[in-house]
Symmetry: C2
Subunit: 257 residues, 2 copies
């Protein structure tokens, strides 16, 4: 019988934020292709005896190309294996899950998807920030700071986005923060617009920088935050809230600036 | 010792899409205030002996006001109980979790948040739709069709949103679909823009309507889809993909139109 491929979201890193289905799929897997983001604590949930293959792209270092990942998934499924493609966050939000699903469908391989908790929600929450809030923001846009070539995606009209009026949550944006801030300032967002940068959300190295649109580029450079980091732009970033650390083993919080 | 309040996301309804932490918090709860959305399958995970209180707002019927919910949470925590506020999806995305956190913080009650899988990702995924896709959409905006008074939120500049260029995913938007479509058409989005309406995502009654921005109002009316429904607007809604039903007990898929 031909195998199948599960595209599985691992959530932001804390194994408590994995879904119950993701955990049961990992516990039954034969072959797991995983990114750099799902850390050791998540990988411990994989069935002992399963093959683990790190395919994650770290900066300037790509063990496997996207085409090679597709080939491995297809090959594993054709060998009758229960294959899991494990991704940080949600597989269909900046996860290239759509490309993998398309490649699998084209090859006639059955695939399924297990959505995950996105860092776009988990990172702000860990900093006590609701991405929407009555009277403050009735929309949130998740946007990436990187296109395939590592530039700000030019399919995004940043000026229009700046005027739309909701919270903006930017993924992989730390190195492009200057450009993003300039475009939003040019679109009329005030320099005083609150900004929060949440690094390594839900992980032991979690750090939060609270700043403004006008000051964020310099502040982020000074803070030297670890990656990955998520940038929250909008009035909600200033909502003061007292958040306790999670009760289960996990992140201790560090406050920068 | 004073108790504490956990603001917990239940995900889209399928109990497999609850996080592991949410499940362990429910298994230890003394008092659970839940919305209408987390269904029976999720509520079965609550500790036997815990008090369940349905506070959910169904159309035109609100057992408890928001202020009354705050009072119950505070009262429970002051009585030393482990209180869970269980919400569909994620507590900080259109969940009024921010208001509850603010009320708790003001009352000096410790609170924590457990982010959840949002229907904004799970519903499109269940229909085989990645909300972002290289070359197609590099951003997604989650927006609500309802403000506090039941109108389209006027803090959203729909024209700007229409021009920003990403996927638009509208919550609680079925009754406002005509107005949303008109505004986006007026902003220059073509009538041929693909639209998918996903009703009761991840639940046994799941149904998917595939239509266009020009035709969606009439098509949705004809299809008579059940609530809750999520509307996905943008090129990604047309990405053809073969999706299998989840292996665990759960949704059978019905295709409308």
């Amino acid at each position: 019988a031909p195998g199948e491929v599960w595209l599985v979201g691992a959530g932001p890193g804390d194994p408590g934020l994995l879904t119950r289905r993701a955990a049961s799929v990992l516990a039954a897997a034969d072959l797991v292709l995983h990114d750099a983001l799902p850390g050791r604590a998540v990988l411990r949930l994989v069935r002992p005896g399963a093959t683990l293959l790190a395919v994650g792209k770290r900066k300037g270092h790509a063990p496997l190309s996207q085409a090679e990942i597709h080939a491995k998934l297809i090959e594993g499924a054709r060998a009758g294996l229960r294959v899991v493609r494990l991704k940080g966050g949600d597989p269909f939000l900046f996860g290239r899950g759509g490309e993998e699903a398309a490649a699998l469908a084209e090859a006639g391989i059955p695939w399924r998807v297990v959505p995950g908790v996105t860092a776009g929600l988990a990172a702000p929450a860990a900093a006590g920030i609701p991405v929407t809030h009555r009277g403050t923001a009735r929309a949130v846009t998740f946007v990436t700071g990187h296109d395939a070539a590592g530039n700000l995606p030019d399919s995004i009209d940043w000026a229009a986005l700046g005027r739309a009026g909701g919270t903006i949550t930017a993924f992989m944006a730390l190195t492009k923060l200057d450009e993003i801030a300039l475009r939003l300032l040019a679109a009329g967002r005030p320099a005083s617009t609150p900004v929060a940068v949440v690094a390594q959300a839900s992980l032991p190295g979690q750090a939060v920088l609270r700043t403004t649109l006008g000051a964020c580029t310099l502040d982020a450079r000074r803070a030297g935050l670890p990656m990955p980091a998520l940038v929250v732009i909008g009035e909600v970033a200033a909502l003061a809230a007292t958040l306790l650390p999670p009760a289960e083993p996990g992140p201790r919080r560090r406050q920068s600036a």
